[in-house]
Symmetry: C2
Subunit: 139 residues, 2 copies
Amino acid sequence: MDVKTARTESLPPRYRLTKQRAAVLRALEKGQHLSAETILERVRGDMPGVSLGTIYRTLDILRMSGLVQMFAFGGSAARYEAAADKHHHLLCSICRELTDVRGDVVGELATAIATDAGYSDIDVALTITGRCTDCATRR
Amino acid sequence: MDVKTARTESLPPRYRLTKQRAAVLRALEKGQHLSAETILERVRGDMPGVSLGTIYRTLDILRMSGLVQMFAFGGSAARYEAAADKHHHLLCSICRELTDVRGDVVGELATAIATDAGYSDIDVALTITGRCTDCATRR
DNA sequence: CTCTCTGCAAAGCATTTGCACATTG
DNA sequence: CAATGTGCAAATGCTTTGCAGAGAG
């Protein structure tokens, strides 16, 4: 395999911090548990013309970079938060209101459990997410 | 307001344990973290002709009765489990495989926190769900 | 005979994707 | 220019719903 081929093959993309992405990040830092739709509205404040597709694509990237945490619910839209100040949530099963829970006792415990199970890069969102031993080995 | 009117107004429905519902429950007791689609397949084993709509409607009822727990993920289909033997999950962020976590230390802690915050009917799925003080008061 | 349930098919939403063009390095 | 990002609109996929008929109490 020559150099040229290798180059064409599979380099990971180098992400750019575009103004749209910065705006999404800013919106997330200000607001709390925002939906994609809400983020769109806020971003459009300074930047009309941004599309929902871009919001979703951006959230994806930020999520994979560990900068943003996502909370999915059945039926309704997912919510996103800046991963900076980690905390958990109480979700009312009736009015669906989200309340923040500060302090990470739960997170620490959950992290310990996930670690024991061989996971790494753990992200405690209450569904314990991470990388499993297999996937960690395979790369 | 006379008796007739009251009767017509808002009695909660009395659910029946139909064969379809029993079948869904059975499927859930055997399998682990099943999607609605998978449940449909299994139920159709003994009972061809059952529809996906019925599966969802049944899952809804079972969920509200506390017999079934739901786990939602962004994008992909939600998973359901019999609420009987409570446990949590590890979700691999790459291969998306779900692994069970036995033991409910996390759950107990989370429950305590939710209780302190005034929630009741708590269901720890890792997103702490319950009824908030307002909703509990209002009815 | 009334209430509840079901299948079917048609909506409804949230999210993803294809494409042509804009932008960045 | 080569790589990456964007808007737009169409497509996808999961879930919900309306309706008319079936079944249970």
